[in-house]
């Protein structure tokens, strides 16, 4: 929808942004073909999770924080249990860590397959939604449903439910799945790996607008694996610090146009978390098969074109299927599902790689294990400034486009980030003003 401004300018109103999680808007002002401002207006109401964690028992965060998001609950659960176990001095076993990674693989399969096919692919293929896309790409959509189901089934087996898992506890799990139960899923996981390669083959043929992000990339890094459930924080500028120092480096701040806090790293400009950052900082930690998939997808060892995030997500799909198979094949029954976690006063920090990027949790407990203070920094909050910066760059490149086409391109650029507004609000409606 367009409106004339009194100064001869124009307002383009696109309405609620589709194919993102949560509610928000965007306002772009253009004067003399120069972008004056770009604002993500996140109007989903604040959800106050940090506030209502206060006064709750230290055992409750995995169940409470899982409810923040229906597509990345494992990220929240894992970050919370890591932080609390740190406070309480509990050391989990390698088997518990392996099972956390397997559960997280299920979440990445669910989330990435949903975003690649249902939300992002229609942008590249020229459809308004996956429903229109299904008429011409029925086989692709069927493959997407199979991939997502594999993720759901893995989540259900390990987590007890496909959404908001209930089997995660501080110290581990209530129950470990058996090898037999895992082997029942293995054929679907193995087929998923093959279809993840088919995904690479498809998405690498898409047309990608030229764009190179100059921002700092931030991700977790693990000495042995592609970091997912734990790691230290590293960036492309060479910054590296343990998770406990996250609050020293990352400062959240409020902007008037968003209900989600923005964040800065060491006082710098926009920085990016998520698939591009993970891939660029951890290519050497990918499995040989995932690196082969990246080569087949035409990627170098780094990727700074946000539109190619769809290829990186497909590479990460390969990675998590490989990891799921590795964990299932190595599993031996008979291990304790959890370790004891006695309450202890202190402060603890946890960070994991949610599908959209680094998620940070901090808790402070009293001696009885009551939560005195909680802080949650989700990935979409951290990515808001870089989304706005991307749009500023792209709108200037695309200034000659019609308002309709410009709006469509902007929405596409936003979906590069797979923003989760529900997580961040703690978000889209698009308005462009031209004069």
């Amino acid at each position: 929808m367009t409106h004339k401004l009194s100064d001869g300018g124009q307002v383009l109103h696109v309405g609620m942004l589709a194919r993102v999680e949560g509610e928000g808007g965007m306002h772009i002002e253009i004067h003399n073909d120069v972008v004056q401002s770009v604002k993500l207006n996140i109007f989903e109401p604040p959800r106050f999770y940090e506030a209502f964690l206060r006064g709750r028992k230290y055992t409750e965060p995995p169940d409470i924080t899982a409810r923040i998001c229906g597509i990345c609950p494992v990220a929240y659960q894992t970050a919370s249990v890591e932080a609390i176990e740190q406070i309480c001095g509990a050391e989990t076993t390698p088997e518990i860590q392996a099972m956390r990674r397997l559960l997280y693989c299920g979440e990445w399969i669910e989330s990435h397959s949903l975003h690649i096919f249902m939300l992002h692919a229609p942008d590249f293929l020229g459809f308004d939604s996956v429903i229109e896309m299904a008429a011409d790409y029925g086989d692709v959509v069927e493959m997407a449903l199979r991939l997502k189901k594999a993720g759901n089934d893995l989540m259900t087996l390990v987590g007890g439910r496909a959404i908001h898992p209930v089997n995660v506890k501080v110290g581990g799990f209530y129950r470990m799945p058996t090898k037999l139960e895992m082997l029942a899923l293995r054929p679907a996981i193995a087929s998923g790996l093959e279809e993840a390669f088919a995904t690479i083959k498809l998405v690498s043929t898409f047309d990608f607008p030229e764009m190179e992000q100059a921002y700092e990339y931030v991700a977790l890094r693990h000495p042995d694996y592609y970091a997912i459930e734990r790691g230290t924080v590293v960036s492309t500028s060479g910054t590296a610090f343990p998770v406990r120092e996250f609050p020293d480096h990352v400062k959240e701040f409020h902007v008037a146009h968003s209900n989600a806090l923005h964040a800065s790293l060491d006082g710098g400009g926009p920085y990016v978390v998520g698939p591009l950052a993970r891939y660029t900082l951890n290519h050497d930690r990918l499995s040989p098969l995932a690196r082969e998939a990246a080569r087949e997808g035409g990627l170098d060892v780094t990727c700074r074109n946000p539109f190619k995030s769809i290829i990186v997500r497909a590479v990460e799909l390969v990675e998590v299927f490989v990891e799921a198979i590795r964990i299932i094949d190595a599993w031996q029954d008979g291990v304790a599902p959890s370790v004891p976690v006695p309450a202890r006063a202190g402060e603890g920090f946890g960070a994991t790689e949610a599908p959209r990027g680094v998620l940070f949790h901090r808790y402070r407990l009293d001696a009885d294990g009551m939560i005195l203070d909680a802080q949650i920094v989700p990935p979409t909050s951290q990515n808001q400034p870089s989304i706005e910066a991307d749009l500023r760059t792209l709108v200037e490149q695309w200034i000659e486009l019609s308002d309709h086409d410009l709006s469509h391109r902007c929405e596409h650029a936003i979906r590069n980030y797979d923003p989760c507004i529900s997580c961040a609000t703690h978000f889209l409606d698009l308005t462009v003003e031209r004069s």
Partner: protein, 169 residues
């Protein structure tokens, strides 16, 4: 000749009225209706796999249409019926993860030719979806009527002799 019938309760537990589909599914399951599969389910993207082999599928979910709380909305949405209106059921709960809700699942199923011949959506007008809350009084008061509606739908379908099952989706 046999037919397969499935009742799918869609929703989230502990999210106020959004649990109505799950609660109705449990009550229908307790009736042990011969040949009726009952499923509790949360993720709309998984619906197609649940219903595409059925002759009759009934999906119960919370809806927000502006009607009186607890009132019923029954919509025929199967392969033998026409497409849903663009915004139909779009405000069901939070619309599912990343706005892929029941309406999207129905239309995606139609595009993929994976709708049952008869798919009936039974909506219960909902008002509150707060975390950690139970069904609101108007929705709780409507449960008997919703169960009776669902039973009426599956009981009038062609009976057959499959075993009863109750699975969690």
């Amino acid at each position: 000749v046999t037919s397969s019938r499935v009742v799918i309760g869609l929703g989230s537990p502990d999210r106020g009225d959004d649990a109505v589909g799950l609660e109705v599914a449990r009550r229908v399951a307790d009736l042990h209706l011969p040949g009726v599969t009952v499923v509790e389910h949360e993720d709309p993207t998984g619906l197609i796999d649940l219903w595409d082999t059925a002759d009759l599928a009934v999906v119960v979910d919370a809806v927000r249409s502006g009607s009186a709380p607890g009132s019923l909305l029954v919509v025929e949405a199967g392969a033998d019926a026409g497409p849903l209106a663009d915004r139909a059921w779009a405000r069901t709960g939070r619309g599912g993860t990343h706005a892929f809700g029941l309406a999207a699942a129905v239309e995606l199923g139609r595009a993929l030719h994976r709708l049952p011949h008869r798919l009936v959506l039974v909506g219960v007008e909902a008002t509150q979806f707060e975390h950690g809350t139970a069904l609101g009084a108007p929705v709780a008061a409507a449960l008997d009527a919703v169960v009776a509606t669902v039973v009426g739908l599956v009981a009038t379908a062609t009976p057959q002799v499959e075993a009863v099952s109750h699975v969690s989706g």
